[in-house]
Amino acid sequence: MYSPKVRRLVGEMPNRGRIDDATHVGQSENPICGDRVVLYLRFGRDRLEKASFQADGCTAALAAAAGLLELIVGRTALECARITTDQLLIHLEGLPRHKTHGAEVAVAALQEALTAATANPQENDPA
């Protein structure tokens, strides 16, 4: 049902919680199943230096949020903005049929973080 990658992500939950010095924060919610993901991003000069997440949702959403951070840390904002749900699904080694929306919520939170006004906009990153 869940891939080894998903199991590990949910088991270890890397980068959970919030970071205080985030440059970008984004949140997304799936109104149907109630999955919610919040991403905290700290961009350095031109790369994402640090990121964390909080989530309230099913296994797929949790794993997607944690997996997405693995994918984007070290990338430029532009690269981050180009991450697709499909790329995330590949990184997660797949999600069960009816649970792919978990990846969508995570990617939507990323998009939101990159476009929305950030909590403490020290830098203006051309997303």
């Binding site: 949910v10 088991g11 939950m13 959970r16 909080q54 309230d56 949702g57 949790l62 649970k99």
Partner: protein, 384 residues
């Protein structure tokens, strides 16, 4: 390395090596059809009849009262459909509870579509059926009362004796799904006024795909599976000889371990519960006020989601289950916890720990060691 601890014994159990041993000759040597007249067949027949006695002994029943099925689901379906269809009138009335296993609930719903009427009685907040509702709804149009012996999600023991009394006074048949009771708490059909009772081997260290329906002597029902004249014309289909033999052995062993089950396994479960409640603040023990079978603990961690917790525990080697069935992807809230009227946050975060006689003290220690840590992480991740 992770220790592996299996605490999902209400879903299925490890087959006893002695049961596997007993089954083996029936695959490659005594492979005849138990209905065949020749010696090959008759030796298979002996295996089946020996197992029938072993199953009857576990329940305090007579061999003739045991009909083998392919599991608890078939036994439940056979009881519900069988009684409803052999009831004198076209549209009969059935009484069941809101916390039954889907094998009972879906059968009742199917009967409703065919014009039968079903009353689903409520339970209290501890998951025990409201007797007075059974009393109020029973009438001479009632064909069957079906209430489970032990609930599979929270372990609450239902007042089977009282229910059978109500049914008997009204002359109504009483079925109980004892899939989570047989081999775990004493079930003595000589004592109890139960007319039909379902059990399933894989819940007590027998093989999957075999179960039995107890049909009290004199109770006649329309057969569910139809075809050849097997099981004294009460259930068609070539008998699953190795499975039945394995079930028989599992019944024998379960009977031997029954006392130990009540004491040692009960103590393990109690320790697990007490420590979890103590070490992890904000936890809720579901069904706390009910008389419960000794092997089940249903605990909620409000604010978390049961399934994610399950996956996180599995990553640490601990197999448990959630109350919620999400086999088809859409997580649906447990109908049992919902019927108990619990808070959504309690329902969504429920985890079922179910123990077996193969569970050790070390297993429980390991769970107590890692659980607070896993819960801690999940709480760190939660949106405040």
């Amino acid at each position: 390395m992770n220790r592996r601890v299996y605490l999902d014994n209400n879903a299925s159990t490890r087959v006893e090596p002695a049961a596997v041993e007993a089954m083996l000759p029936y695959f490659g040597q005594t492979y005849g059809n138990a209905s065949s007249i020749h010696e090959q067949g008759q030796r298979a027949r002996s295996g089946v009849e020996n197992a029938r006695r072993q199953a009857a002994d576990l329940l305090g029943a007579d061999s003739d009262e045991i009909v083998f099925t392919c599991g608890g689901t078939e036994a439940d379906n056979a009881a519900i459909f069988g009684v409803a269809e052999s009831f004198g009138r076209p549209g009969s009335h059935l009484i069941t509870s809101k916390i039954e296993h889907p094998a009972v609930l879906r059968a009742c719903e199917a009967l409703e579509k065919r014009g039968h009427r079903v009353t689903y009685v409520d339970v209290d907040s501890d998951g025990v059926v409201r007797l007075e509702q059974i009393q109020e709804s029973i009438s001479d149009e009632t064909a069957l009362v079906s209430v489970m012996y032990v609930n599979n999600e929270i372990g609450s023991i239902q007042p089977v004796g009282e229910i059978s009394e109500i049914a008997r006074r009204q002359g109504v048949l009483f079925h109980t799904d004892a899939v989570q009771a047989a081999g775990k708490i004493p079930v003595d059909l000589q004592q109890e006024g139960v007319d039909l009772l379902s059990i399933s081997a894989h819940k007590f260290h027998g093989p999957k795909g075999v179960g039995a329906l107890f049909l009290r002597s004199g109770v006649e029902t329309a057969p569910f599976m139809v075809g050849g004249s097997h099981e004294r014309k009460r259930r068609a289909g070539t008998e699953n000889v190795p499975g039945i033999v394995g079930m028989g052995k599992a019944c024998e062993l379960a009977a031997q371990h029954l006392e130990d089950f009540g004491t040692r396994i009960g103590a393990l479960r109690d320790r697990l519960e007490q420590e979890v409640l103590e070490r992890i603040p904000g936890t809720v023990l579901n069904g706390r006020g009910a008389k419960r079978a000794p092997h089940v603990s249903n605990i909620s961690f409000p604010g978390l989601r049961g399934e994610a917790l399950l996956v996180a525990l599995d990553f640490r080697g601990v197999a448990v289950s959630t109350g919620a069935a999400c086999s088809s992807g859409a997580v649906s809230a447990s109908h049992v916890l919902t019927a108990m009227g619990l808070d959504d946050r309690v329902i969504d975060s429920a985890i079922r720990f179910s123990i077996s006689r193969m569970t050790t003290e070390e297993d429980i220690e390991y769970v107590l060691e890692i659980l607070p840590e896993v819960i801690g992480r999940m709480r760190e991740m939660a949106i405040a």
